[in-house]
């Protein structure tokens, strides 16, 4: 006789009744599944959130780009002298040489300075970037309002600025910044545009930890004219509390013609730079490579997570099996009675299998709720971004049901194979 849908529903209802009869025992039984499922969803959400931020950040560097940053090497003995002027980083010569590489489409240089930006009495420590108009497209900058500076601004060294979103909110909390004038050192700049917000992953990915929301973009000719090519940094302690360095460019953004050629181009760049720079005072960043590494790290993370989840779900399943075996023993006489009034072995299997699946599925359900709450709490209290993926919920629920079937089958079979006569006599 086939089991109709209505009958199945009745079996489930009866099973649920039996489980509800022993609420505490059932809850304790499914705790393993609950925590297994909750930890899978929560950890995946946290991991997914972290890698999402990292990925966005790397992507914002442009996947067809190679970025070279000037690095200030640790000070040697000479730099301790008061009159010493440090020289490091990328130069015009590097720029000309690198531009000869055939696969290089364009190189956009940038000069940077960290300094306070003032608007009347309000100020914020910002990252002043002197660059070319092409920088916007190369770095995927979006302009929320106003415009980016153009070739004309560059040519005439116009003192205009585009500000990042954090600069905007701290200097102009209530006003429209367009057309307003900000002060950097002793120079004034007119704001012509506001950049859209960029993802900033904080300290989680140190190699690209640059908050682009505190940036102020200015035409390079203007910064050269106003600030020269020196950077002045406050150093900690001592009488000589200022350090001066001559840096022509802080950064090259190299646009490569084809994605396939990124790696070979990067090694050519490295070769050329190592010829002219005795010390390696630069760093080559390949966003695409970073992206691949991030993906790989994530895969490993997922495998580790998967193993932990598998173990905890197996442990949870064993817990369910254990209790189901106890339940079968406890209800031996009931099994005998049911067999006597006409239940087939199959009916007994269905009954007990249903109970163990209900147990594990409700454990999975509670686990899902918990697994959704935990990442939300993490986001709220730890400020970490989390991303709950639907497939992780679906997967862990499916697995918990499968665990119920897998670990419920043995106790159910044991129940069905009891001799009815013996079972009826069981005390």
């Amino acid at each position: 006789m086939k089991i109709s849908f209505i009958h199945l529903f009745r079996i489930i209802r009866h099973g649920w009744k039996n489980i509800w009869l022993h609420k505490l025992r059932s809850l304790l039984t499914v705790l393993g599944i609950v925590f297994g499922v909750a930890s899978v969803i929560a950890m995946l959400a946290i991991g997914e959130g972290a890698s999402y931020e990292a990925r966005k950040m790397i992507e914002s560097l442009g996947s067809n780009n190679i970025i070279i940053k000037s690095i200030k090497l640790p000070a040697d003995a000479k730099s301790q002298q008061a009159s010493y002027l440090g020289v490091y980083g990328l130069t015009d010569r590097d720029l000309r040489k690198l531009e000869t590489i055939p696969s290089v489409m364009k190189i956009i240089p940038a000069w940077e300075m960290e300094d306070d930006v003032w608007y009347y009495d309000k100020n914020i420590s910002a990252r002043i970037i002197g660059t070319l108009p092409d920088y916007k497209d190369a770095m995927n900058l979006s302009i929320k309002t106003g415009r980016y500076f153009d070739e004309k601004d560059l040519e005439k060294s116009i003192p205009v600025a585009i500000i990042g979103s954090t600069v905007r909110t701290s200097l102009f909390p209530a006003e429209d910044p367009i057309g307003k004038t900000i002060k950097i050192k002793s120079s004034y700049f007119t704001i012509i545009g506001i950049a859209g917000e960029k993802v900033f992953a904080g300290a989680s990915e140190s190699f690209v930890a640059e908050d682009m929301n505190i940036a102020v973009y200015i035409p390079m000719t203007t910064t050269k004219m106003f600030f020269g090519e020196y950077e002045t940094k406050r150093t900690s302690g001592g009488i000589r509390s200022w350090e001066r360095n001559w840096v022509q460019y802080h950064r090259f953004v190299i646009q490569v013609s084809e994605t396939d050629k990124i790696l070979t181009t990067a090694s050519l760049v490295s070769d050329i730079l190592s010829q002219t720079h005795k010390k390696q005072d630069y760093q080559i960043i390949i966003p695409l490579e970073l992206l691949r590494q991030a993906e790989k790290t994530k895969r490993i993370f997922n495998i580790v997570l998967g193993s932990i989840a598998a173990i905890s779900l197996i442990v949870g399943g064993i817990g369910i099996m254990n209790i189901m075996l106890a339940i079968v023993t406890e209800r031996t006489r009931e099994i005998g009675i049911r067999r006597a009034v006409g239940a087939r072995k199959r009916d007994i299997i269905n009954q007990f299998l249903t109970e163990s699946v209900i147990l594990s599925a409700s454990g999975g359900f509670i686990g899902i709720l918990l697994g959704i709450i935990i990442p939300k709490a993490v986001t709220k209290f730890a400020g970490m971004m989390t991303l709950i993926t639907p497939w992780s919920i679906l997967l862990s629920f499916t697995i918990s049901v499968a665990v119920g079937i897998g670990f419920g089958l043995y106790p159910a079979r044991k129940a069905a194979n009891l001799d009815p006569i013996q079972a009826l006599r069981y005390e």
């Binding site: 089991i3 009869l21 005998g336 009675i337 049911r338 006597a340 006409g342 087939r344 072995k345 006569i421």
Partner: protein
């Protein structure tokens, strides 16, 4: 004899249990016939094989050799599912210790046999209430077995046994756990059912119970020793 009139036919039935490597013969060649509508008591001392015989009649147990026909159908060759089907459709059991399921209500206990026939829920409920009223427990259907007296519990068991309109009611010491007043009431109820046409077979060693029967099979050492 007319086949249609015979409910049960045993042909030289034996039953041997294997316990710890030793063969223990329980039935040593039993042959008998029980006709439709009969009221038979099986009596005998402990270990005489009367409960085993009842279990075989009830399709809970199988014969070791010999043949058992139920309504003309050879039962000895059927598989477990088929035996369950026969129990489900044709047989009602009543036990000495009532054997109600403690976590279910009176009504749910009575309904159980039809659950396995996948009968419509509303119809099942209607019939169960009807039977509960018939055995005089119409006001107790929401109670648990533990809230009832022994006599009441046995009446629930009788209602359950009637749920599938059985051809055969098998009672194993139905009054064994009851005081004499409740015992008499239960026996009256069973006799009443028998008068309505259901074949009734009961196992007992209480002569007061056996005297209700029109036919008594006396068993000794796995054989029918005497028939009144």
């Amino acid at each position: 004899m007319n086949q249609n009139n015979t409910t049960i036919k045993f042909e030289n039935v034996t039953k041997v249990y294997h316990l710890g490597g030793i063969d223990i013969p329980v039935l040593r060649g039993v042959s008998c016939e029980i006709k439709k509508g009969e009221h038979v008591a099986i009596m005998g001392p402990s270990g005489s094989g009367k409960t085993t015989m009842l279990n075989i009649i009830g399709c809970l147990d199988r014969v070791t050799s010999g043949k058992y026909f139920l309504e003309g159908k050879d039962i000895s060759t059927l598989d477990d599912d088929a035996l369950s089907e026969i129990r489900s459709r044709k047989i009602g059991f009543i036990f000495q210790s009532y054997n109600l399921i403690p976590q279910l209500t009176v009504l749910e206990n009575i309904e159980m046999p039809l659950f396995y026939q996948q009968v419509d829920e509303a119809k099942t409920r209607e019939k169960a209430i009807e039977l509960a009223q018939m055995v005089g427990l119409g006001d107790r259907i929401r109670h648990r077995p533990s809230e009832l007296s022994g006599g009441q519990q046995q009446r629930v068991a009788i209602a359950r046994a009637l749920m599938n309109d059985p051809v055969l009611i098998l009672a194993d010491e139905p009054t064994g756990n009851l005081d004499s007043v409740s015992g008499r009431e239960i026996m009256k109820l069973l006799c009443q059912l028998n008068e309505q046409g259901t074949t009734l077979i009961l196992v007992t060693h209480d002569p007061n119970v056996a005297k209700y029967s029109r036919r008594i099979l006396k068993m000794l050492d796995g054989k029918i020793s005497n028939e009144d």
